[in-house]
Symmetry: C2
Subunit: 413 residues, 2 copies
């Protein structure tokens, strides 16, 4: 089954908005076993829309259209769909009642343009939009499915998941696909690939492995295609076990879990707390740790000692230590971790100090040199890394590495 | 002049990579006065590429192609361009020497597949890629320009800016366009539009205004189209002045400046320093302030008092104050700002405390309630905001608002 995506809207062509909808759709369809083989972005222009629809119908079984459904004059997708299918707009009373209820709730007057949201092409099925005033539409004409949805990401996603996918599943049969995604960090893609080379080479043709790299982390997605989910699971399980055996130390979670979430669960399980003393990460490590709701249960806080004076005054790093070894040193970062743990009375203390760049590097300590220390109830240790010469990536990688150090420590105890 | 963009690569269709290249190209071309009217994303498949090239040639004057130029087997753009133009690959000695020099520098052996990078279609001009091994290519056939570039963003951008744009400008004449971009924050798009409604309504047809909203900030881009840049400037200047008169307090900068950069310049000018005491922003404010290289000149550090115990112990917030007014209160945030300023011995102290959500709200203090305080050398003041119910946005908006408070204070003194 071949699918294509058509996004409608000048803002995408002008680059004012980055199109995240179609990558989400690409991922979602791919997981269902539907292959997206074409995407196009066109402007709010009748002829461009008509042409895209007709080209799409010639090459695809499912055409997913987003955008151009707002109440303003420049949104012409609905009228153009009518022209394409040679039909007309008719009032849908249920949609009208729903749109009216939204305006009543918000205590706003209904304009004529809002009433128009309930006018839909005669030949369409409604894909209910519980989050907004523009309903999605489903057309099944000449063996091709056309799905038209608003471009607002959270409206589009809910409509697609709750309305469009069940309709697709009731109409067509899809191959059984079993996905297992392993989340790794602290190791690069090519090193991972080398370590599991023999496993990958031995995969049967119906089990695929995709490497999905991010900054500082790589997801490994295994997809098994077949008739019987249970049989696929039986085949995939020992493969996944083998992967855990060779690279288990780098795997922090499965599915969509983030490292921050995994770490939070571990800390709660162990009834442990953590504080941070940050220099080069400048608050980003604290931000990552607090990006999860509920993190106040285990994360107490941080001293960001961006200036060396603050390291001396707030973290009791002796001036002599800074003069002898520098702030980016094992000696400094070790003491920072111990001090923050003691000062904030937490189970663990993490400290970072490095040269994020682009300036500040030297021959001995080039840009990207980063020390990370972890103070535990029984001991403190530090590691040095070279994170490369991009400031933003160094900050992000350092934060991930620091959280991963704590994760591994928690697993050992 | 009509342009279109073709991106080649399965990773875009599968949604493994979000396409930022084509929004950058859309913006860049739009600024030059070239209208991007179509984009398509296709897979690394010969027939799909041939079809996209032929459809593109029928509707566009300039076709920009990215991706599929790597050394691996799945990258077939170059061979397919040869087939499309009915020509062959020939060795380019200069490119070969350059690719060899890259491998020598990195001390890596050259593989056959790397040598292939220097084989180029006979009819193309080389668009030099100083950042990588895959050169860009320029074709001018049947009055259509084809520009093929690698998909790696920083390689693509440099090639396009330094090689492709000069070639386009030497071949075609472009309208003169004058852009002025005003950066605003702390006000929503619709309120801005209302405030400058009369200015916008009076714009002549050849001056366009675009609202480019982000979370917590809106860019206003004025574009004047004409023959003579100087004349356009004379016309645009009084319009911009009028905009400054009505919404000047919300404008923090022009062009590509970020609020963090603008604030850094102001702090350096005044020889002032700043520290932060963060609760709900959890380190994100510190991260924003330290995202600019050189920020150590004015940013001293932070105490992130995520837990109330840390507020008491590290920022001397009395237990009674927390019990009477709560941590999310004018009283608490005011004292936090004063304490951090005194403790860290800085000119200014900023404090944040709020309910980022999704849990923790009450009738009196719903999710999104945020207090921000600023302690200056002479006084301290606090403001309360409702930032809405999205945790991530609340953290981002609060950080922007906090920096904007300090910016305004610095301007007044």
């Amino acid at each position: 089954m071949k699918a294509e995506i058509i996004t409608i809207g000048d803002e995408l062509l002008l680059g004012q908005v980055i199109d995240t909808n179609s990558s989400w759709l690409g991922q979602t369809l791919n997981k269902m076993g539907i292959n997206v083989h074409h995407k196009s972005a066109i402007s709010d222009n009748k002829n461009a829309i008509l042409q895209a629809l007709s080209e799409g119908e010639n090459r695809s079984d499912v055409i997913i259209i987003t955008g151009g459904l707002g109440p303003t004059k420049d949104d012409i997708t609905k009228a153009t769909l009518c022209e394409y299918f040679d039909t007309e707009l008719i009032l849908n009373e249920r949609v009208l009642a729903f749109v009216q209820s939204i305006f009543e709730k918000r205590n706003l007057p209904m304009l004529d343009s809002n009433n128009m949201q309930a006018m839909l092409p005669k030949n369409c099925g409604v894909l209910w939009n519980k989050n907004g005033t523009a309903p999605g539409m489903w057309f099944y004409e000449n063996k091709t499915v056309f799905i038209s949805m608003p471009g607002v990401p959270f409206e589009m996603k809910t409509i697609f998941e709750e309305e469009a996918i069940p309709k697709l599943k009731s109409l067509f049969s899809f191959p059984s696909i079993l996905h297992r995604t392993l989340q790794t960090c602290s190791i690069g893609e090519s090193f991972l690939a080398k370590k599991i080379e023999s496993i990958e080479d031995a995969l049967p043709s119906y089990i695929k492995l995709a490497y999905l790299p991010n900054i500082g982390s790589v997801r490994l997605r295994f997809s098994a295609y077949g008739e019987n989910l249970e049989a696929l699971e039986k085949e995939l399980n020992p493969i996944i076990e083998a992967v855990y055996e060779s690279i288990g130390e780098y795997i922090y979670g499965e599915g969509d879990e983030s490292l921050t979430e995994v770490l939070g669960v571990l800390l709660k399980e162990k009834n442990a707390t953590v504080s941070t003393a940050e220099s080069c990460t400048g608050g980003f490590l604290a931000h990552q740790l607090t990006s999860v709701s509920g993190s106040s249960a285990y994360y107490m806080g941080s001293i960001i000692s961006y200036d060396n004076r603050i390291k001396q005054e707030q973290l009791n790093i002796p001036k002599e230590l800074l003069e002898t070894f520098g702030a980016v040193s094992e000696e400094c970062v070790t003491l920072m971790a111990q001090q923050i743990k003691d000062k904030f009375k937490t189970t663990y203390g993490i400290a970072t100090s490095g040269i994020a760049g682009p300036t500040g590097g030297s021959d001995l300590k080039p840009v990207g040199t980063v020390w990370i220390a972890l103070a535990t109830p029984t001991h403190t240790f530090a590691k040095v890394f070279n994170m490369g010469d991009n400031r933003e990536r160094t900050i992000l990688r350092t934060s991930l590495m620091a959280m991963d150090l704590l994760r591994k420590e928690l697993l050992q105890n």
